[in-house]
């Protein structure tokens, strides 16, 4: 039973991590939290749903479609919402407000266009349970866990090993310094939004498979991802993943052994405790390092 709960927690945590990494990437590069992130999650779920109902009944193709749509949406949000403010070097608070505005507006646009009904994918991963050493696991949880892990490892490899990844790490220290190295920082910002959006789209597609697709899905889940990235240390990718796994496993265990009503209390209490004890988060980057 405990082992099952842990696997379930890891699959929830994996999805949180996909979204939390997006918050962290954008925060580390631009020093603000992209509150419009949640809409790319919702759109990921809806894109998968409509792909499956209208186009082609293959869940993997549906997920790929969601990744592409959400990635494009994230870039549109950056171009239409943030780029003008970033070019003017506006204070970060204006970017936060813009993000909140985009999020609220898009949530309502989704309700207007698709109604607030809950939608179940017409095809899904196998619901069969797998028996290992007497414990039963849902196939869907194992697949989600595997897909999330692969996506996160790919992103980590990209950031740690590629030339563009090195540029992102440098630019996260200072965009201005990166620009005098001959790095086109505008392009770098686009790449980061694309990665964040694609991961969010994947998260949305998986959430739609695990639960259902509905307009508030993104906001509900991205909140948890935001807590994860704060717990892990805003701006740190490893931190975001660790925070997300702690949150995922903690939530599942709390709902399993205590009550599901305690789940959200756990998440927010964890947030408050971290902010009191170590405000920079578990893997937080010390600002003093930047001098």
């Amino acid at each position: 039973m405990f082992f099952q709960q842990v696997i379930n927690g890891l699959s929830v945590g994996g999805i949180y991590a996909l979204m939390a990494v997006g918050y962290s990437l954008i925060y580390s590069l631009l020093n603000f939290t992209n509150f419009a992130h949640s809409i790319t999650v919702t759109i990921g779920a809806f894109a998968t749903f409509y792909f499956l109902t209208e186009l082609f009944e293959n869940i993997y193709a549906g997920i790929l479609f969601a990744i592409v749509v959400a990635g494009i949406l994230a870039i549109l949000i950056q171009i239409l919402g943030y780029s003008v403010l970033l070019k003017k070097n506006a204070q970060r608070i204006y970017l936060l407000i813009t993000g909140l505005g985009i999020s609220t507006m898009c949530d309502n646009l989704v309700i207007i266009s698709f109604t607030s009904r809950f939608r179940v994918y017409p095809v899904n991963f196998s619901t069969k349970a797998i028996n290992v050493f007497g414990a039963t696991f849902g196939t869907i949880d194992l697949i989600i866990l595997a897909v999330s892990a692969v996506a996160l490892i790919l992103v980590q490899l990209f950031i740690k090993k590629s030339r563009a990844g090195l540029a992102i790490r440098g630019a996260s220290f200072s965009l201005e310094t990166a620009s005098i190295m001959g790095i086109n920082t505008q392009k770098l910002i686009m790449i980061v939004f694309l990665i964040a959006g694609a991961l969010a789209g994947l998260a949305g597609a998986l959430l739609g498979a695990k639960y259902t697709a509905y307009p508030a899905l993104g906001t509900n889940m991205a909140n948890k991802a935001f807590i994860s990235s704060v717990v892990g240390g805003l701006g740190s990718i490893t931190g975001a993943v660790i925070g997300a796994l702690i949150l995922g496993i903690g939530e599942v265990l709390i709902s399993g052994y205590l009550s599901s009503a305690m789940r959200d209390i756990f998440s927010y209490t964890l947030l408050v405790i971290i902010l009191f004890v170590k405000p920079s988060g578990l893997m937080g980057v010390d600002i003093g390092d930047r001098a």
Partner: protein
Amino acid sequence: MLRVENLSFSYGKIQAVRDVSFEVKKGEIMAIIGSNGAGKSSLLKCIAGLLKPQTGQIYMEGEALEAVAYKTVEKGICLIPEGRWIFSNLTVEENLILGGYTSKAVSQGIERSYDMFPRLGERRGQRAGTLSGGEQQMLAIARGLMSNPKVLLLDEPSLGLAPLIVNDIMKIIQDTNKAGVSVLLVEQNARKALGIAHHACVLKQGTIVKEGRGAELASDESILAEYLGKDSKLLKAGAGK
């Protein structure tokens, strides 16, 4: 080679650079000296494309430059900013790789950097933030040279360094210049700058008030006294040693 024409820049109402024109010729070291707040850094940032001047134009080999930093690097101009601005979260080698972002010969560049500064080679895997001030300045110069610039813009390279290290840095600037890179050097440490400059001008409150050969200006005590503010007395004392 690098020509600045009637350049003016202001931060809101505060005018930092006023109608400045000059040219850095191919193969020379040109120094701009002036006290704190004379507009030296703003001028360099305008050339590097970090700041957009309100009026005036900058030409590189006859071609007008856009005020976009990464394009300026592609044109062969490289700024080594005041305070070094090294990526302290990255290793020494990663800093160099980013310095060569536009270059096709990154590994040769890294080798050349380690030949030039063996100390950097010893510390290639170390986080750049853990280097001493002098080593950071060496890294900043090596990183700047990674892009194989035609013109090197140096903003206060002696700032905060011990006198012996300042001499090393000046020597490195001269060597770089002899290897064919034109240098625009901005300094508060006027004696050191004029000591190696072929040609120099004095910037005061955003305008060029004096121009001449480096040696000429260096021998003109009135310039040191008048344009370099209170520090000039200290400079004289330092020069007497």
